[in-house]
Symmetry: C2
Subunit: 106 residues, 2 copies
């Protein structure tokens, strides 16, 4: 499967208001994620390193004890085990990258 | 460094016509890469798993012995050690994800 069309991948609802399409390799999961305006992703943590790259919209993101309003072209950097969460101020599109792969999302 | 503004990262020219901004974690490198129309990235390989997610433009991508014309929302999936290359039919913006991190890009 050397090529993927994200829109044709099964949609996975992470929680109400957060729906993504995810592709997986051995070491990486890459998700194209839509977040509805007003959605709150509560603080949580997992062992995977994560980048959350904002493609469109505005989101208030917390990593550890730092909170930042992100605009497109900005990215949250979340080392494995670090508590993080976010609140979408508008509808957002985010690319989420994880390593190791999110086997729980397969 | 829990937040990154890609445009403020140092620009790295991979070869003429391909310039990216790269952020690194322990296990992942994420690059926001601009490719000029007509640029050819010759076939090459590396041990890192790679996703190349097309954000804008049109690119002809080869992975192993398969070639595909990619449009935005499509992605090349390149397991470590797999020969790959591409040709930009228009100016393109691509998000490149690598694991392990590209220490040679730091």
């Amino acid at each position: 499967m050397p090529f993927v069309t994200y829109a044709t991948l099964p949609a996975k609802t992470i929680l109400p208001g957060i729906t993504g399409h995810y592709a997986h390799m051995e070491k990486i999961t890459l998700g194209d994620v839509e977040v509805a305006a007003g959605t709150v992703l509560p603080m949580h943590q997992h062992p995977h390193d994560q980048f959350s790259y904002l493609l469109s919209g505005r989101v208030e993101f917390t990593v550890g004890d730092e909170t930042r309003l992100l605009e497109p072209g900005q990215c949250a950097v979340i080392p494995g085990g670090t508590p993080h969460g976010c609140r979408a101020l508008t509808a957002c599109r985010i690319l989420d990258v994880f390593s190791p792969a999110r086997d729980d999302y397969r």
